[in-house]
């Protein structure tokens, strides 16, 4: 399961609207807890696929390295990534699958229809290696502000 605060959830969905008709992308920082991914922060990234941003995304490795360092400094981990599918379903594509290498992490996809965020789905990259990896649907629990506070206690 992916557990995320409402503000963070809305932020990643809005990101897809802001970059429409291009794909947005970003990282999810948080903790792995009891087999779930608990998001503490959403980091927006630049989509470096300038050649075809309408149907591809890529996060620059230096940006990713900086995010990894930031996570370490804050005692967090990269627990997932998100991106948008402009005018396409919130379902992973073969391209998403081929380029997914962060085992145990969440891959969140928001369909953006004519500029408005529609369905958001999350998939966890299950398996133990590149050879047996698979993207499996996972539940998303969006916490209200009150629920977020009680999680911190």
């Amino acid at each position: 399961m992916l557990i995320i605060k409402n503000g963070d959830y809305e932020s990643l969905r809005r990101h897809g609207e802001e970059t429409y008709p291009f794909e947005c992308c970003g990282a999810l920082l948080g903790r792995f807890r009891d087999g779930h991914r608990v998001v503490e922060d959403v980091i927006r990234c630049n989509n470096t696929r300038a050649d075809r941003p309408q149907d591809r995304y890529n996060i620059d490795l230096k940006e990713l390295l900086a995010i990894q360092r930031q996570a370490d400094e804050r005692g967090l981990e990269i627990v997932g990534f998100y991106h948008s599918h402009p005018d396409h379903p919130a379902q992973w594509s073969q391209t998403d699958f081929a380029e997914a290498h962060w085992l145990s992490c969440s891959y969140v996809i928001t369909a953006v229809e004519k500029g408005s965020a529609a369905l958001t789905n999350s998939f966890v990259l299950a398996g133990s290696s590149e050879e047996d990896k698979r993207l499996e649907p996972e539940a998303v629990t969006v916490l209200s502000l009150e629920e977020s506070k009680s999680q911190c206690r």
């Binding site: 696929r49 990713l64 996570a71 997914a100």
Partner: protein
């Protein structure tokens, strides 16, 4: 010479949860070999059966991608930090 390798979250299950592993070596390649010697189950995560680094596994020495240095032959010094960074990309259309 000892230096550290920064392990990304998905691979920490193979390093007993450690995010930073101290290794020995004089080059990036020998440091990675030292890492795999300490944690053998990492080998198949980082390398193909033919012994080549997997295409999506990127290696940084401090702030530099080693592909733009001397690759695995890049010399390292004490207190350097090597980071392993799996790539992240995708897109809504099929290839």
């Amino acid at each position: 010479m000892s230096l550290r390798i920064n392990i990304p979250a998905p691979l920490r299950r193979y390093t007993e949860g450690q995010g930073l592993v101290e290794v020995s070596g004089n080059s990036v390649g020998s440091a990675l070999a030292s890492l795999v010697e300490l944690h053998p189950s990492l080998r198949s995560q980082l390398y193909t059966d033919e012994g080549r680094l997997r295409a999506f596994v990127n290696v940084y020495l401090n702030d530099e991608d080693v592909r733009f240095l001397e690759k695995m032959e890049t010399t390292v010094k004490a207190d350097d930090v090597i980071s392993i960074v799996p790539s992240i990309a995708g897109g809504c259309l099929q290839p």
